[in-house]
Every structure is written in C-alpha cells, then in structure tokens.
Amino acid sequence: MSVRAVVIGTSAGGVQALSHVLPALPADFPAPVLVVVHVPPRRKNALVALFANKCQLAVKEAEDKEPLAPGTIYFAPPDYHLLVETSGTIALSSDEAVNYSRPAIDVLFESAADAFGPGTVGIVMTGANYDGAQGLRAVCAAGGHGIVQTPATAEVATMPEAALAACPDAQAMRLEEIEHALEAMLAR
C-alpha cells in the first residue's frame, strides 16, 4: 500500500522539532503532509511563513474543501480542526476543542486513518499533553504506520510517551531517523 498522506502532530517544542523534519523532505516527496501544531486560537498563523522559507515542499495553511496535493505541507489554521475527507479533500471544522485543543491532533489522525487506512503515516512528536495518542492508535488500527519521537529525545516527553502507551505498535525514533524513515517508506 503506498503512502497517501503523512500526518504530524506536535505541541510544546514542536516548531523546533518540525524544523528538523520538514525541511529535510525532498522536493519530489510524493504525498501530502498535514500538520497540527497546538497554537493559541487568536494568534495569526506564523508557521506557514516560518516554514515556507525553510522547506523544499510547498507550504500553506489548509483551506476548507481544498484537494490534497502531493508534495505540499498543510498547516491547520488556528482555532479550527483539520480533517481529511475520503474524497481526498481537506475539511475544516469549528467543533468543540478536543483534549482542550483546536486544532486537535486526534481529530486529524482519526479522519486520516478513516480516509486513507493503511496509506496513512502518523507521527507524534514533542508535546505537553495527551493529544495525538488516540489518533495514532486509530492510524495503527487502520493498518497505517505509527511513528513517535523517542521520548528521551523530545523537548517535552509527555505527548510521545502517551502516544507510545496508546499505540504500542508505533516505532520510536529520533528526529533524524524519522526523516530517513519517511524517505524509505515513500521510495518503496
């Protein structure tokens, strides 16, 4: 099963962790990458500008009903959940916060698991709460690939630890290994 989407979730320390992983992705990366970072609701989304300059892939804020394109990194907008539809388009929602977060990692991961099943790669990195754990479990349960930043190497270990506890099938990796694993997976 080829990879249809890579979904990434992170919180405290996440910008730095993403700064290792996202710029390393090659320009011909053949899948869309969707990212939820917990950000304060009323802050303007600085992530797109920050990563657009660093990445070889196109970087944008996810727009409602936009078709997913390979080789593009989509950030969830502040104060909206980011989901994907089985048709391969993006959906935003203003449903209530999940794990005190909107956007929530679980919401993205569960919808990706549902839409893309075994074609989903879910990655949980540094963070200070439990968001992403249930989502990663859903990704693994759907036959997708679960990856977690090795807790000892994470700036805040809570989120990766929770993800590993909820999803024992997931592989723990350092940031550099995550980047290599993605390339290897996509080359297959």
Binding site: D64, K65, T86, D95
Partner: protein, 279 residues
C-alpha cells in the same frame, strides 16, 4: 493522489442509511453535510448514547421520536463564543454600520444561530451604535433545543472572561457587564437584547428565502456543508438580501466556489464580509 478504490466501509453505509432515514422520516436533511465531521459526531453519539452501531441509532430514532432531540444535539449544536473573531465585529461596526444607518428600519438574520452567542453579540453592537430601536433580528436554527437556549440567553459564567475580552477587542464602547446579570455560575443576558428578535425554526437546506434582509451573519455554518449545499445556501442568501445588503461568513469560508458568487462583491475581504450587488 492514487486513484485506489477503497470499498465503502460498513460504517459509511450505515451513516448514509441513517441520514436517509432522518430525511425520509423527520425531514432533517444532513445528506449534504461534509462527511468527515458528521461521521465524527455520529460516532460520538453512538458512544455517548450507548449504542453498539450506527444502525442501532437508526433503528432507535425511527421507532422512538424522543431519541431525535438527543441525536440532533450531536449533529447540530456547536459551541461558539460572543464576539468570536473580534476583528469581524470591528469591521461591521466601522465599515458596515455607516451604511446601515442610512436605512429607517433594518432586518438582520443570524442564520444557524445555535445557542445565540452571535445574536447577542450583534444585538449589543447594534445597541451600542444606536441602531437597536430600528432593527428586527431573525435568529434561526434547525434544532429546537438550540433555539430555546438562544432565547434564554444564559451562558456559563466561566466563559464571560473570554466574551468580555472579545467584546473589548471588537471596539465595544459599553461594558459587557452592563448587558448581563451574574446568577451563581451563570450569566443571564438582558432580555431587552432580544425584545426585537424573532426566533424561528428554519433550515438552510430545505426551506425558502427569508425576505429583505439588510445584513445576514452566518459564520462557521457553510464549512459543514458540501459544495452543492453551500451553493444552494449562498443562492438563498442572495435572494434574502436587499440590494446592497451585507453578508458575513466565517473566516475560513468563501463564496469563491459558488455559482451565485457573482451576486456579491467583496466588501471587507479580510473579514469575509460581502455586499449584494445593486443589480
């Protein structure tokens, strides 16, 4: 993307059948709601209402109409906040109100009003701008329980700090506390704010236009609809507005994809406020 055909899951079949059943028996039409969100809500309903499957919900709701209101609360109700996106309300105040002042009487439609946070926000804004006495508000929703909550205008006190901050950022020139009384853990909004409001059961999906509005505010509702339904609703808004009337939608919504978009011009682009063309 790969064009792999993934066979429809049993759950997706069950969801389609439930939505068909709700439409055929109760005339509630969720068939053109964006599927990922509706699925999430139905799975929550299944867990929290204690059913084993979506089919079990379908059987229950068809045979026992008392299940319907509980299911509707999962399918429709959303938490919002007063003066959500303060810059939207600031734009209404600074850019739209000067036009509204030129009318001797005004009609404002809050479409999909849910628990009424947007209605009270607009009502306070109109009072602050001296327009309250000439304005009729129409607050509509498909969920009768939400309409009752909107009519009551009671919100948990722990949300007031956020509402107050939003109101301040929106350029409010009264104090939000002038408009409610605290009662234990609840804030009860002044009933004068709704004395010129009609609360009404109205479906954007199946009902007709609502006439001669000067302003329609409908935010974070279109986002839940598929393109086809969005298109219908944008057409409905066009028919419901006076020429030169205003339409405000959510910050992540757009008219761009609608066949009816040519009836509207950008008015405050960044805040998604549009104006119905004169012709």
């Amino acid at each position: 993307m790969d064009a792999e055909v993934v066979s429809e899951s049993i759950e997706d079949i069950e969801i389609q059948l439930l939505l068909d059943a709700l439409y055929r028996h109760y005339h509630y039409d969720f068939r053109h709601y964006a599927r990922a969100s509706i699925k999430r809500r139905l799975l929550q309903a299944r867990t929290q209402l204690g059913y084993d499957s979506i089919s079990a919900i379908q059987s229950a709701v068809l045979h026992d109409e008392t299940i319907l209101p509980r299911l509707l609360n999962f399918l429709t109700v959303q938490v919002s906040e007063m003066f959500r996106d303060p810059s939207y309300f600031r734009a209404l105040r600074e850019k739209v109100v000067p036009h509204l002042r030129t009318y001797p009487s005004l009609k404002v439609w809050v479409a999909g009003c849910s628990h009424g946070e947007e209605l009270y926000s607009l009502s306070i804004l109109f009072a602050e701008e001296g327009l309250a006495d000439r304005t009729m508000f129409y607050a509509t929703d498909i969920n009768p329980a939400a309409l009752r909550a909107a009519q009551a205008g009671v919100y948990p006190l722990d949300r007031i700090r956020l509402f107050t901050e939003n109101h301040r950022l929106s350029g409010g020139h009264s104090s939000l506390s002038d408009h409610y009384t605290a009662n234990y853990d609840r804030a009860v909004f002044d009933k004068s704010l709704r004395k010129r409001t009609v609360f009404s059961d109205h479906s954007l999906v199946t009902d007709a236009a609502f006439g001669e509005m000067h302003l329609i505010s409908c935010r974070n509702v279109l986002i839940y609809f598929d393109r086809e339904l969005q298109d219908r609703v944008v057409g409905l808004f066009g028919e419901s507005l006076v020429r030169g009337g205003f339409l405000g939608i959510g910050s992540k919504e757009s008219l761009r994809f609608s066949a009816h978009a040519n009836q509207f011009a950008d008015f405050v682009r960044t805040e998604r406020i549009y104006r119905r063309n004169a012709r």
